[in-house]
Symmetry: C2
């Protein structure tokens, strides 16, 4: 009677959320500070002060009916225009508010874009290891997810990318900095990607949409310039969320942006609006829409993530672990000490370390460590990582 | 290349939103108070004070990381438990927090429930005239929407209901009070509906889920007791939104509730969780989740809607219009003065009256008037209604 796939997802929720739920229960059992939960990208660094200040200001000074009222489906037009100006100034881009659709965050954006462009049997390409939900949204519409292998530094293997694109390829999705590796795609990478896709668009004579999923766009630790995809490829779409940059993981506010230079841009935007309606997405939360113009360009204190990252990377390397040195986001990708990452993650639980096995990221033999936790947790967890390493050395 | 249906929805957005968008533009042209926009259920009565007070209190007194942090996908468990207790106390029900899933509002809830239970070719029954999006969500998953005719008072025709249920029927959806008629389904109506469905469940030997869509549950003007569906039918699901009762139409907070007595209730709940994941719904907006326990049982000032309703109904009847006397919600269903309600709605625009033709509600010859506007607009619009009536009398 029920769809088995849906039922399965419903029961397991996902390895990450299972671990997180386990962590919540375990903390109640043995105490909050005894469990080293690195499972979920739930920043423990507070939102910048301007977020709550703005919300309070809107709630106390503005007309309640306006602040909580409907906007048009794609979101308040002035807000969208302000976002476009901000992007144009920051990234020397040429975006337009007319082609922005405010959404209930990144998950919503990705689900909408996938629904909009992918029919049953059609293909979505992404780069392993990747955010697990790319698979969920692709399969939800009957599509097929195709993985491109990474090179040794966890950048796309372009030879493999070229091989994997077929006449059925509708979307190519990437996130940079990457979840789970923290790898940041330089301008060089984006240019090569655009060049492969342009060639293939000509070959197959139809658009292949390049979707840049950018929740971690601002989480860069070396002051790198972010290569904004619309500057490099016409048929490009940006999915953005304020959840990570502003430490608002539980809030639902983000946007989909269509490159104004996309072929048949009005149709592309309309099909996104249509898909959103069909999935029940109308009018992103109004209060948070109105907040956006005040907080653009702000981030939570990145120095704290940087300190976490450096302390943890140094400690793990000293202990003897092999880690991918991340340049962005707040994830560390660490090689498991046995081939089966799920087993390794189970063993880590014995030491109260909650590490996400890499399998749901379509990659074997690693764990993801979300280091967006308190510095105290970083420091206190190091002995547990030592015990974990010893366990494997001695068995 | 694009899905034509999706493109169409994307371009038109819906008659209601088109009218609303037209109204926004028209107001800019000729002045806010010159346009009598009755198109959209966007309350112009402010949220009860406790809403903004609670939000400000949470933002200023609570830990920002907690307030904006992830919850588990179905929502904060304590919040869900509080909702269950409130429902049990208010409606003598036996609901449980374990079977509540917090969502981004009513549209989300309906889209999720439809995705969860309806496969391509399967049927959803609803009662004409009905909320247009029932069709959108049904067709989005490849299902077929089947309309049951109303009786003369706009209650379900039970003979027709019985005829329309087939082996393919998965869901029966109703909203009470109804959008667009304002009709309130008494206990008697719910009991008869339950009785027909129970008979048919036995006949076909599988569950038929009765979905009560309840955004207007609290908007009753005669102090009627609300017959809570889980008390009358085991395989029942409630979709609730705080948008209308609390005047928060632009915010996205609501829930799906599964009757704990439903057959295989764990599977039913899991398939809803799975469908939500697939559609990109994870963790309803956190700040608003945390607000819920403080505002349960509160509503915006219903006396204002009541005054609007009475003034408008009296005036329209005096002018000579035929209206369905609404007992709840904030909609008035008025007979058009020509057979084609779309044409009638176009004519009404000449008098700056924005009235939604009944066609998108799968019903002919009426218009919907959303009277959740300022009392001033009600009073000022009356001469325009007179002119509209005269126009038809004299042509």
């Amino acid at each position: 009677m029920f769809d088995q796939k849906m039922l399965e997802i419903g029961y397991s929720q996902s390895t990450i959320r299972d671990l997180y739920t386990y962590g919540l229960a375990r903390k109640k059992e043995i105490g909050e500070d005894k469990v080293f939960d690195f499972s979920i990208g739930n920043p423990s660094i507070p939102a910048p002060k301007i977020v709550n200040d703005t919300l309070v200001k809107l709630l106390t000074e503005e007309d309640s009916v306006k602040i909580h009222g409907y906007t048009v489906s794609p979101g308040n037009k002035e807000v969208r225009d302000v976002i476009a100006s901000y992007l144009n100034k920051t990234f020397h881009a040429t975006t337009k508010g007319d082609f922005i659709f405010l959404t209930c965050g990144a998950a919503a954006s990705l689900a909408i874009v996938t629904k909009a462009f992918v029919k049953p049997g059609e293909e979505v390409i992404t780069f392993a290891p990747h955010f697990p939900e790319y698979r969920t949204y692709t399969e939800a519409v009957g599509g097929v997810l195709v993985n491109v292998n990474p090179d040794k530094d966890f950048f796309p293997d372009f030879v493999d990318l070229e091989k994997k694109i077929t006449s059925k390829t509708r979307l190519v999705i990437y996130d940079s900095p990457n979840n789970p590796t923290g790898a940041f795609y330089t301008e060089e990478v984006i240019k090569r990607m655009a060049s492969v896709l342009s060639k293939k668009e000509k070959e197959y004579d139809h658009p292949i949409y390049l979707v840049s999923d950018e929740p971690y766009r601002e989480l860069l630790y070396k002051g790198e310039e972010y290569p904004f995809v619309t500057n490099y490829y016409d048929n490009s779409i940006v999915c953005y969320s304020f959840s990570k940059s502003l430490s608002l993981p539980g809030e639902r506010i983000g946007y989909i942006l269509v490159n104004p230079n996309a072929n048949d841009v009005n149709d592309v935007y309309a099909v996104i609006c249509g898909a959103a309606s069909m999935l029940g997405y109308i009018c992103a939360p109004a209060l948070f829409q109105h907040m956006v113009p005040y907080v653009l360009g702000h981030t939570s204190n990145l120095e704290e993530y940087k300190k976490n990252k450096e302390t943890l990377v140094t400690a793990l390397k000293e202990i003897g672990f092999e880690v991918v040195n991340p340049t962005g986001a707040f994830y560390l990708f660490m090689k498991a000490l046995e081939a089966d990452a799920e087993k390794f993650s189970e063993v880590a639980k014995q030491f109260e370390l909650l590490l996400v096995p890499s399998d749901p990221f379509d990659y074997k033999g690693y764990v993801r460590i979300a280091y967006c936790v308190s510095y105290k947790q970083i420091v206190n967890s190091i002995p547990a990582f030592k015990k974990l390493h010893n366990y494997y050395k001695n068995r």
